[in-house]
Symmetry: C2
């Protein structure tokens, strides 16, 4: 095996060189679903990701708030695909595309030839032209983001325990979450739980129940993707557990000292950004049109205009659903698109090159709000409260991969909700009393 040419040879895929070569960039929900759905097709597949793991992003906020361990929501991509000999997994960063030569360019100077290319490279958080805010208001997209935010939250309590100046202590005990979508709501709710329920018995000099958790949303309500009454319920649930909800006030500055919103200054040492994302630069690589969030505007069949051999899916792609609304950037949408693209590729292998438009089927929105409350909007049914929380929990455990991780997450949640213990209260990556913001 070791004498096979490798991809850095800039020449060929290692196995089955006569087969149609599919390259998939990105091992998120969309990319992975495409691989799964291409099982049995007469193709060779190379899946490239700059991380070695697939990440279950819907529970990432639970890593950031010390509820779950990193390994409980992440899986090595190549291990997930070990049973597929026609699939090669590569840890590499895509730096561009040579569409004429049909090659994906990689960070090591090598390139990957393709017959069909699927761009599923996702999105990062975005600061709307204020990238200078990032050091003070980290966003939440990767495992490193999550452990960074976890460190900042836990360190703020630790420093407050040592701080004698009441003003500084208050700034340390003020947590600001910017953005009222599901991630912002879930973060704010869980931080409030940490401060009000988990932490109090552990400290001697501070009363962590006095901590302020402020959720700032520029729009008129939290969870704008939900119905108005579920939004209202979410807001009152947050307020009940001690979150201060600020609506209609965009943030105009983030610094080491705190945030400015609606002309007011709020001193805070821990700010978290959950307000917006920007797609990876797939549209730039190809020189095609993107929407304002940088998402590549695809044709109805998810191909890139002018490139029937290139598809874009998930957070990388902008497309409008039948109801005129944009397809949302959520896991089920990415998976449906992966399934659709795999279907087209399989059909083409059998000589059917007809264009098949993608039809998005919205399965629903879910969000957890602090301890044992959630909102669910499946369209045909809307739910809130404790039963919604149970459905939320079961659904998320169901969508995890593998029995071990399901067991591990279930055990952690059992401990959190029966004993107020969180499994992953670890400050790692430099013990740094000098972390910005300090």
């Amino acid at each position: 095996m070791t004498t096979e040419p490798t991809v850095s040879d800039k020449d060929s895929l290692p196995a089955l060189p006569d087969r149609h070569r599919v390259v998939i960039a990105g091992a998120g929900f969309g990319g992975l679903e495409t691989v799964y759905r291409l099982a049995g097709a007469p193709v060779t597949i190379t899946i490239v990701d700059r991380r070695n793991h697939h990440l279950f992003q819907p529970l990432l906020y639970q890593v950031a708030t010390a509820s779950l361990a990193t390994s409980e929501i992440a899986w090595p991509v190549r291990h997930l695909l070990r049973g597929r000999p026609e699939v090669t997994t590569l840890l590499a960063t895509v730096t561009g595309i040579d569409a004429n030569a049909r090659r994906v360019l990689l960070d090591d100077g090598g390139s990957l030839p393709y017959d069909t290319l699927i761009l599923a490279t996702g999105a990062r958080h975005a600061y709307f032209g204020h990238d200078e805010w990032e050091p003070f208001a980290p966003g939440l997209k990767t495992l490193e983001d999550a452990t960074t935010i976890r460190r900042r939250i836990l360190l703020a309590f630790e420093l407050a325990e040592r701080e004698s100046d009441p003003q500084k202590r208050n700034a340390l005990l003020t947590f600001v979450v910017i953005g009222g979508g599901p991630t912002g709501v879930e973060l704010a709710g869980t931080i409030a739980e940490l401060a009000k329920v988990t932490m109090p018995p552990d400290f001697r000099n501070i009363d962590t129940r006095t901590a302020r958790v402020v959720l700032i949303e520029a729009g008129p309500r939290v969870l704008p993707a939900f119905t108005e009454d579920l939004s209202a319920y979410a807001q009152s649930s947050l307020e009940r557990i001690g979150v201060e909800v600020v609506l209609g006030k965009p943030v105009s500055d983030c610094t080491a000292e705190g945030v400015v919103y609606g002309g007011e200054k709020l001193a805070s040492k821990t700010i978290i950004w959950a307000a917006g994302v920007r797609a990876s630069p797939a549209a730039e690589w190809l020189g095609v049109r993107a929407d304002r969030a940088g998402r590549l505007i695809v044709s109805a069949d998810l191909t890139v205009p002018g490139h029937p051999e290139i598809f874009a899916i998930g957070d990388t792609a902008a497309i409008t659903a039948a109801d005129g609304m944009p397809v949302p950037g959520i896991a089920p949408a990415a998976k449906q698109q992966g399934r659709h693209v795999a279907g087209i590729v399989k059909a083409r292998m059998q000589g059917d090159t007809s264009s098949k438009p993608f039809h998005y089927k919205h399965s629903g929105n879910l969000a957890q709000i602090g301890k044992k409350r959630a909102v669910i909007d499946f369209g045909w049914i809307k739910m809130r409260g404790a039963l919604a929380w149970w459905i939320w929990g079961v659904a998320h455990i169901y969508f995890l991969i593998g029995l071990r991780n399901r067991l591990a997450v279930a055990i952690n949640w059992l401990w959190i909700h029966t004993r107020d213990q969180r499994g992953a209260r670890l400050i790692t990556q430099g013990r740094s009393n000098t972390d910005p913001p300090k």
Copy 2:
């Protein structure tokens, strides 16, 4: 509560100011045991650690080899002590001691007054005057060390999958462990298992079974603390699972290209240091005598000579047992010393200031060697093989703290040994193809 003066006031402990003030530096096995054993004594306790977590070091190599998650072997110190209102936990780094003023100096410029001080600040790995080797041969003492080593091991396989130059690929697939004590043996055995059992189905361009794992020990045998026949068994077990054991050859250089030992060069991109430790600078803080490994030479009752109010325990202290052998730097020894010191402090509180010499009771040595093999030397009984491995496993799960972590570790081991799946194969902390050594 929030109006209490905090320790940064440089003045007083927050609660019960009339009580005898015990300060414990270090929340390892020794420091924590001291706190536990001081329960009920009429004292206030402040325990200071520069990490927020207590770490179960005997299983740290399993984090480094992707078997366990960080949170499964670490617990927030303040949470462990939440039920003890007289105990304050501080995240801070000790920078010195003012023995005349009886104050511990902290990194934030503040200080902690004490009536009794217990130094349990542990050890770091040491390079015998070759600190320049550290970037190329990281050691294993902290969670960050473990995730660094994990990243390097996993990244080496990933880069080898992309590498077309056979020489470079061989260097990437050569893993060197320096030091034949329990940590070195356990690391080498587990890396071999990773390469020979866990990894093969996951790669397409390389055969991970061709990876070399080389264990280099300067002395005449591995596991020198065990009997000669157990050493011989350990060595043959390692060789059976594919580890190359090199004895009697000290390492003379570590670089980005590999190691030099006994005049020979070995090209390797992944070198791990398990060859020696050096105590924290407690002896320097006090200006008292230390042994060659920097450990403070304590009196028979574990006090610091000239300072009956200061004790040193665990890896910080050097003391000789009744049989003339030095007390080993292992968890049971540190715990016994913590218990002894707590007993002295309690006796003094009751007016008994007599000197009580510490008597070390050696409970035994254990080491795991790859899959389902271990060696055990309890003195009265020596064991090896599969039964020893079961005892090793049960003993380690028993000594973990809390049911959740015991469950989590047991589940992980079940998966490793029934399905060859490792739960924590994550490359985190920067995706860095530019990690040294590259």
